[in-house]
Subunit: 281 residues, 2 copies
Amino acid sequence: MTAMRVNGKSASRIDLLDRGFQYGDGVFTTLLVQDGVPLFLERHFERLTRDCQRLAIPPFEWALLRQDVMAVLGDQRQGVIKIQITRGAGGRGYRTPGVVSPARVVVLHPPSRFPDQYSSAGIEARYCHVRLGINASLAGIKHMNRLEQVLARSEWQDNGVAEGLMLDHEGLLVEGTMSNVFLVKGRQLQTPRLDRCGVAGVMRSIIISAASTLGLSFSECRLTPAAVDAADEVFLTNSIIRLWPIRCLEGKSYPVGPVTCELRDWLKQTVTDEISRWSRG
Amino acid sequence: MTAMRVNGKSASRIDLLDRGFQYGDGVFTTLLVQDGVPLFLERHFERLTRDCQRLAIPPFEWALLRQDVMAVLGDQRQGVIKIQITRGAGGRGYRTPGVVSPARVVVLHPPSRFPDQYSSAGIEARYCHVRLGINASLAGIKHMNRLEQVLARSEWQDNGVAEGLMLDHEGLLVEGTMSNVFLVKGRQLQTPRLDRCGVAGVMRSIIISAASTLGLSFSECRLTPAAVDAADEVFLTNSIIRLWPIRCLEGKSYPVGPVTCELRDWLKQTVTDEISRWSRG
């Protein structure tokens, strides 16, 4: 059921000279399809647009990308859509060509299969040895240079461990290999500031926007592993898994606490609303 | 005259699901073709092999890759060959699939056109604002995550400036955007240690091997911009440009000094030897 499009046409291959393949010179986003709805599509488009801007990749047309998304989706009800925008083909060497014609790649994958209890009862996580390099120019962008994550994810094969937390070069907490991380202390919600490395996920921004609605105090800050130790609750987010509580991290146990549950319920309702909003057109 | 091969077959496109396109999950090398000879081919194969090993990409067969190189080369006498080895297609998500089938991509490009005086009289260079993130896991590897270089190279459009020097996150000198950098002080040759970031180029290793032959003292070390300021001579290397003296860096002038000239002459002779060695089979 994998459907693929490149620049508005059905295709399963990309130009070898595309800078996405040459240098990872592009950005991407991954979104969940539920009940036939590509969830939070506008937010994903906004994020792609912002990330393109950061890398000086010319903006794509939302209407065309939307057509691509609907075309790969067809009549599928569930799945995962990955969108990549690259700087396009051109130029041997790092210098960007004068005229750039970005490539738009959209692929529908089958739904991911994670056990239901990951959301309900929480997951076991670990710390990764591979650290994230600090680079303000790339921080926050979901760009296609993802070797740090590939290496970090290759550190464990144990299927009992669902995610690995990553620290930066200086030992501060940044994110999971494929997720953002939040700490809860009382009614206080915290997540690492992503101005030096890390990916600012769409689900992260949705959770942040929920904080004020739910009367939680929220801050982006520098967090150490000691802060994780001292947290009442810890959870992970991304657009596919939505929200996973951490129940165990390197031997330490955490409850699936009240704030985590509140956010998870709020998110479930928000998705339901999004689906009905979409159905009403 | 661009000829391209993927896994031993003529092809101009790569699978969208190839991890090279998805995550920059691969390595590459770029080599010069002169008088029909792909220069220092074994050294490039060695480097690719070492880099694959670092990323746990299964080793490729040298004989097959050599066939690809000769096939794209055909009867061309001059050009640039870029070889990419990726982890291949498979797995949505960073986790590497259990069975991996790496992809072998070989492309022949037309010769690069740089003015002759870059080699003879030297170039003007600048410092880039974009810094290199520090990550020991990736340091030294010529991997396909090259956004830092793309961003650094986009900082200037002035054709009078041929290369930009890059510092790491902590302000230490690492390399040029597409080259390695050497400092000369008397008969002492120095180049940045690449254990925290940077690409350990094939031409860099050739220059290092020349040092003892020529009776130069050599060290890899931590170098600051102040050390560049204090150097007698500064030059850049890579497999395509070979060796470019820096004659001007941010307003400061350097001579094309005796050690630089000695190394440049040695290199010219070494290339001549390599070409006759190849011709004799």
